[in-house]
């Protein structure tokens, strides 16, 4: 069976017309939910994600509490209608794994020692999935933590790089994700020039990995700017009395 799908066109552009190093249009907003202590909305192409923070608050169950630092609990979850075929609403193994890697990425930048014995709850809800949901979810979660005023050494900005028809591309879309040779989700703490989330699914040589990380860095720098702008917008009008 030969697929008629052309992922990289003759002129080097992608299935949706982007250049290999071009991101999808991204939109971010902080403080979008009323009840959460911090919240954010991130959209990258058709991927739409809400994140909310509760805490720091007392850890439950109590035996989870750490005497010298806070713990982060994270739930990454996809809405049943977020994908083409309805997903059963329970937590899949994939969602458990992604919750873990998102939690650990956030633990890398939050000053957890400021809140001994407490828990910071992070909820990531994927409303619509079009690839790159773990990285966009982490981007949203770190924005929500900043919105909640929790001290962090840096924000986390993440993007998925892929190898599609032999070409490395930035910010995979679902059409590309389905047929890619490799999927490389990367999240950075940009100011610390460090990686906070790194996974690979698929075949890649060491040189391709190196090039892929450079490409990812380009994307995360861009997202980092958008995160900072979203926070500025959120707090610039704070305290203004309506006319």
């Amino acid at each position: 069976m030969t697929s008629e799908l052309v992922l990289i066109k003759e002129d080097g552009t992608r299935i949706d017309g982007r250049r290999p190093d071009e991101m999808r249009p991204a939109h971010m907003e902080a403080g979008v939910l009323e009840n959460a202590e911090g919240s954010a909305f991130v959209q990258m192409g058709k991927t739409k994600i809400y994140a909310a923070i509760f805490g720091p608050r007392e850890a439950h169950p109590r035996h989870l509490a750490q005497p010298h630092r806070a713990i982060i609990q994270c739930r990454y979850h996809m809405a049943s209608f977020s994908v083409t075929e309805r997903k059963s609403p329970g937590m899949t193994r994939r969602e458990h794994e992604l919750s873990k890697v998102i939690k650990e990425a956030l633990e890398s930048v939050v000053f957890l020692e400021e809140y001994p014995r407490s828990v910071i709850d992070v909820f990531v809800e994927v409303i619509q999935a079009d690839a790159g949901t773990r990285t966009a979810g982490l981007t949203a979660a770190s924005l929500a933590l900043a919105d909640a005023g929790i001290p962090m050494a840096d924000l986390c900005a993440g993007v998925a790089v892929g190898k599609v028809a032999g070409t490395l591309v930035l910010d995979l879309s679902e059409d590309e994700d389905k047929h890619c040779e490799a999927d490389l989700p990367v999240a950075m703490a940009p100011s610390l020039n460090s990686i906070v989330l790194l996974q690979l699914n698929g075949r890649l040589t060491k040189d391709e990995l190196k090039a892929g990380l450079q490409l990812a860095k380009k994307g995360t720098d861009l997202l980092y700017d958008l995160q900072k702008k979203a926070l500025q917008k959120r707090f610039a009008s704070y305290g203004e009395v309506p006319e």
């Binding site: 005497p67 010298h68 193994r93 994939r94 458990h96 794994e97 919750s99 873990k100 890697v101 939690k103 650990e104 990425a105 633990e107 890398s108 930048v109 000053f111 020692e113 400021e114 050494a153 490799a182 490389l184 703490a189 610390l192 020039n193 460090s194 990686i195 906070v196 989330l197 790194l198 996974q199 690979l200 699914n201 698929g202 075949r203 890649l204 040589t205 060491k206 990995l209 190196k210 990380l213 860095k217």
Partner: protein, 280 residues
């Protein structure tokens, strides 16, 4: 203000000691920074399984078993067999592993082993489609961590690979469109590569291979690198919190590649003529 990622004082003391040792090219157990612990691979340890392997890497022991069955293909891959990988951290292995459904660490391990086997295309699932769209081979790989002294990822992948590479399954034949057993005949699974994985630990700007439990608790972060062949990565998992500086990545890739190839040679020597590289 605290330093980011500061550990409790006793761990900080261990961290400092480990760092001093690594900086002078040594480890707490006498190894060099880029040296893994002694590896032993034993296959056919469970006769009732179609394939099995017990792997020890220092004080960490992992057993993997393969069972084979026939079943329906997944709707999105009608012309491919199925691969199902499961891993469990048995309560025998460590005081920190509890009985019950797999926790996030066990799920992460299953999914990492799965990616190493699947993404490397080590197991040719297309050759397991006995009657495409109707009857396909189903390969179950179950991995159990029996004893834990750090880094269960590398021995788990090694055991899973050894088990599928040496497995012998019931031969079936299609006769007039119907699947029939060929009694008394067993065939190997279509395994064309031997994926291996290496766990790399990071302490400040220093990198170590295959941390033991003491080192694991004191590391700043770690990442597991799965190599399908000597030149091609199949899976990566940054599996603990902490900052991974961009500057150490090149060293992680180079060292893990060398060690993964060495583990692959060890595996080949251990399984001998039970597996041979396909000539294509």
């Amino acid at each position: 203000m605290y330093r980011l990622g500061e550990k409790p004082y006793p761990t900080q003391i261990v961290q400092q000691k480990l760092y001093e040792l690594i900086s002078s090219g040594r480890r707490i157990d006498g190894r060099a920074p880029n040296q893994h612990r002694p590896v032993k691979v034993e296959v056919d340890v469970v006769q009732k399984a179609e394939g099995s392997a017990m792997v020890s890497m220092g004080g960490t022991k992992v057993i993997a078993g393969v069972k084979f069955d026939l079943g329906l293909p997944y709707p999105d891959t009608p012309d491919k067999g199925n691969l199902t990988v499961n891993a469990e951290l048995l309560p025998l292995a460590s005081a920190s592993f509890e009985p019950g459904p797999p926790d996030e660490r066990a799920i992460e391990l299953s999914r990492f082993v799965d990616r190493c086997l699947r993404e490397s295309q080590a197991l040719r699932l297309d050759r397991l489609a006995l009657i495409p769209g109707q009857k396909v081979g189903v390969v179950y790989v179950d991995v159990y961590v029996l004893d834990y002294d750090g880094n269960y990822f590398a021995p788990a992948v090694l055991a899973a690979t050894a088990a599928i590479a040496t497995a012998r399954v019931q031969r079936h034949e299609v006769r007039n469109g119907v699947l029939a057993r060929v009694e008394g005949e067993e065939v190997p699974l279509p395994v064309v590569k031997l994926p291996t994985a290496v766990m790399m630990g990071v302490l400040r700007e220093r990198v170590i291979v295959d941390p033991n439990a003491l080192e694991e608790a004191a590391l700043e972060t770690s990442v597991v690198m799965g190599w399908g062949t000597d030149d091609e990565l199949a899976a990566i998992q940054k599996n603990t919190p902490g900052l991974l500086p961009m500057e150490v990545l090149e060293e992680i890739v180079e060292v893990s590649r060398t060690i993964a190839s060495r583990l692959r040679r060890t595996l080949r020597e251990s399984i001998g003529d039970r597996w041979s590289e396909p000539k294509e």
